[in-house]
């Protein structure tokens, strides 16, 4: 009896080892979920273009030839945290998704961050701005690519204060993103000797900004800081021109502006705006080549925004890590650790690294919108004004409140 049970125990153990051993050697299936705003105010800067970017990353990785089976699904979070988390849960529980990418809208992004940590998935966020993702709310499962509010504040914000813009009035989108961007920019303004003399919080997706602009105008602040994004920013800039705000000596600080926003405002109104991005399609031969391939597959032939470029670069790096691991991609923390241990390098963002808190470090670029007479093509919008090295643009590790750093 006893020997039999020991024998069966041994047998079971051996079988278990055999089964798991086989699984880890051969499990090369991965499912990527591209979660974005597919139809709302952020759909053009992320949305279907981000899904396309993920697909191109998979194709370019060449992992299919090495026996990997990689699927991509996409979802629409409609800018609502509850819908975003519901999709994320379903993806992990039912669809067996391993990694979620993109997720613009900081409110949704932070909510999804918790789900991914709980399910031990991988999170490569490119679309959201809040620096909390790699700061107070950092997670061992999360990598934040492309940009964040700290970076925006320390590039565009700092440049404006140093150029004499020492009094600020904020127009802030009333949710996690706006609050984070206002907070980070305020810190920069005050650290550089300026002061914030007022601000107004507007609801997300506001069609008319005239009331808010009048308040900004009567505040007499030198700089009107726009802590909003997408359609909100384009409407603000357009209507500010209408109310003669530039002519009165006040300057607009578009803290976050995307390629698609400039297109929507039109160069006539947008010319001369200074802002920061980490990717522009017309930087060098490599970005142009990628953007050409990308635009050919897009419905309106648009080149990639920095968010979409970030999705591409993030997925490429993720797949490099999987290739290095050789298989068994389902332990999120392990995969992210591998990603952090490898330097990043791709055609779009160049060389960089992922810090222990999950923040990807790469160059940031100060741009100015071209005059209509300088633009030579339908998407020829930016002039490069300056380059900020990654280690100066993003949160220094010494300032990060991320709990992962205390170990």
């Amino acid at each position: 009896m006893k020997t039999k049970s020991i024998a069966s125990l041994l047998l079971t153990t051996a079988l278990t080892f055999a089964v798991t051993g086989v699984a880890s050697a051969q499990d090369k299936t991965v499912k990527i979920g591209a979660l974005s705003d597919q139809s709302g105010l952020y759909a053009d800067l992320g949305g279907p273009g981000s899904t396309l970017a993920a697909q191109m990353a998979v194709e370019d990785s060449g992992l299919a030839a090495k026996g990997w089976k990689i699927d991509i699904i996409s979802g629409d979070h409609q800018n609502k945290p509850d819908i975003g988390t519901a999709i994320a849960r379903q993806w992990f529980d039912v669809d067996k998704v391993d990694i979620i990418v993109d997720v613009p809208n900081s409110g949704v992004a932070l909510a999804v961050n918790n789900v991914i940590k709980e399910k031990n998935g991988v999170y490569i966020n490119s679309g959201a701005a809040t620096s909390d993702l790699t700061n107070a709310q950092c997670s061992p499962n999360t990598v934040h690519w492309t940009y964040d509010t700290y970076m925006l504040a320390h590039t565009t914000g700092q440049a404006l204060v140093k150029a004499g813009g020492d009094s600020w009035f904020f127009l802030t989108a009333d949710y996690a993103f706006g609050a984070a961007l206002e907070r980070d920019t305020t810190a920069v303004v005050t650290a550089n000797g300026g002061k914030v003399i007022g601000g107004v919080k507007h609801p997300l997706n506001t069609p008319d900004f005239s009331s808010f602009l009048l308040q900004a105008q009567s505040s007499k602040a030198k700089i009107i800081g726009l802590a909003n994004a997408g359609g909100d920013t384009t409407n603000t800039i357009k209507q500010a021109a209408e109310f003669g705000i530039g002519k009165g000596g006040q300057k607009l600080a578009a803290l976050l502006l995307f390629l698609t926003d400039v297109k929507a405002i039109g160069l006539e109104t947008a010319q001369g705006l200074n802002f920061t991005e980490t990717f522009y399609w017309d930087m060098n031969d490599k970005t142009r080549a990628f953007s050409k391939r990308f635009a050919e597959k897009m419905k309106n032939n648009a080149p990639p925004t920095m968010v979409q470029a970030g999705v591409y670069a993030g997925v490429r790096h993720y797949l490099k890590a999987l290739d290095a691991l050789g298989g068994n991609p389902h332990d999120g923390v392990k995969v992210v650790e591998k990603m952090k241990s490898m330097p990043t390098e791709d055609d779009l963002f160049g060389k960089g690294e992922i810090q222990p808190n999950g923040r990807t470090i790469h160059n940031a670029y100060l741009f100015e919108v071209k005059k209509p007479s300088e633009s030579k093509g339908p998407w020829d919008f930016y002039k490069l004004v300056g380059t900020v090295p990654g280690d100066q643009a993003f949160t220094p590790l010494s300032e990060s409140k991320c709990a992962l750093l205390k170990k």
Binding site: A43, K201, H202, P207, S210, T234, G248, D261
Partner: protein, 287 residues
């Protein structure tokens, strides 16, 4: 105090859009008994038609003010002939669902081709610039919007309440059989009325194109507020919807000044209050 004047004026500007749109809705509901959920999509089409006229045909803003309502109005009349007319006499819910479906389809098609961030449309040269009123800098274009929409609203009210044609219309909604007995082609009149309501939406679309982005979802964002305006004013009441439109614009403007976080909800709070106190709306007659 100066800031307050400015906010009142800005509220009036937004109110003109509410008034124009809710007027069209009130005309359609009053005459056809259809809750036209496609109104926002038709407003958006008005703006897009203006954009196409300018960029493809070189036709300027002023002609667009005339042509866009006609073109979109014809589209509306086709909708009425082919779909809405079959719903006469059925519960309101059917019309609401059908027009809601149409709105989703139209918006989806535009979104598919033009994305969501919108296209620029410049203010016509004659209306560029602004004037200093002492308490605020008023862009000339905004002033034009208020005056123009006031004129259109009053003209429409006059047409329906004070002319013989309007009398036929109102009679036809009360008792179509009797009006038909007098030799009036009632179905054609209904189609034209729907065309008129839709044309008003398109006109508002053209007016808003230089202010807002020409975006596929520009109507979807606005339509819910406009419905609240119509409900507060009293369903089907022409004058009620005009006055409520302007008044709510002003109230919303003041909210943006005193408590901006609530500016998106204040209209609905008012709607709830009005429905609780006077369910037929401020100027509505009991059914």
């Amino acid at each position: 105090m100066q800031a307050l004047y400015a906010q009142l004026l800005v509220g009036l500007i937004n109110g003109s859009f509410y008034a124009l749109l809710s007027l069209g809705l009130a005309v359609i509901f009053g005459m056809l008994n259809i809750i036209n959920f496609a109104h926002g999509a038709l407003y958006m089409m008005g703006a897009f038609v203006a954009y196409f006229l300018l960029n493809l045909g070189g036709i300027n803003y002023w002609w667009a003010l005339l042509f866009a309502p006609i073109i979109v109005g014809i589209f509306g009349m086709i909708l009425e002939r082919t779909m809405l007319q079959w719903l006469t006499g059925l519960d309101h819910l059917y019309g609401l669902l059908l027009t809601f479906g149409i709105a989703l389809i139209v918006q989806g098609v535009f979104q598919n081709y033009f994305g969501s961030s919108g296209l620029p449309y410049a203010i016509p040269d004659q209306l560029k610039g602004g004037m200093n009123l002492g308490f605020m800098f008023l862009p000339i274009y905004r002033g034009w919007v208020v005056i123009f929409s006031l004129v259109v609203c009053i003209a429409t009210w006059f047409l329906i309440e004070k002319t013989r044609l309007g009398a036929y219309l109102r009679a036809a909604t009360e008792n179509p059989t009797l009006v038909r007995a007098f030799g009036v082609n009632v179905p054609r009149m209904i189609t034209l009325t729907y065309g008129l309501g839709v044309g008003l939406a398109a006109l508002a679309g053209v007016l808003s194109a230089p202010i807002n982005q020409v975006r596929p979802l520009m109507g979807a964002d606005l339509i819910i507020v406009v419905f609240a305006v119509v409900v507060i004013g009293g369903m089907g009441s022409i004058m009620g919807s005009i006055i409520t439109g302007f008044a709510l614009g002003v109230i919303e403007g003041l909210t943006k000044y005193f408590y901006p976080e609530a500016s998106n909800t204040v209209v609905f709070v008012l709607m709830v209050l009005v429905l609780l106190v006077k369910p037929t709306g401020l100027t509505g007659r009991a059914a």
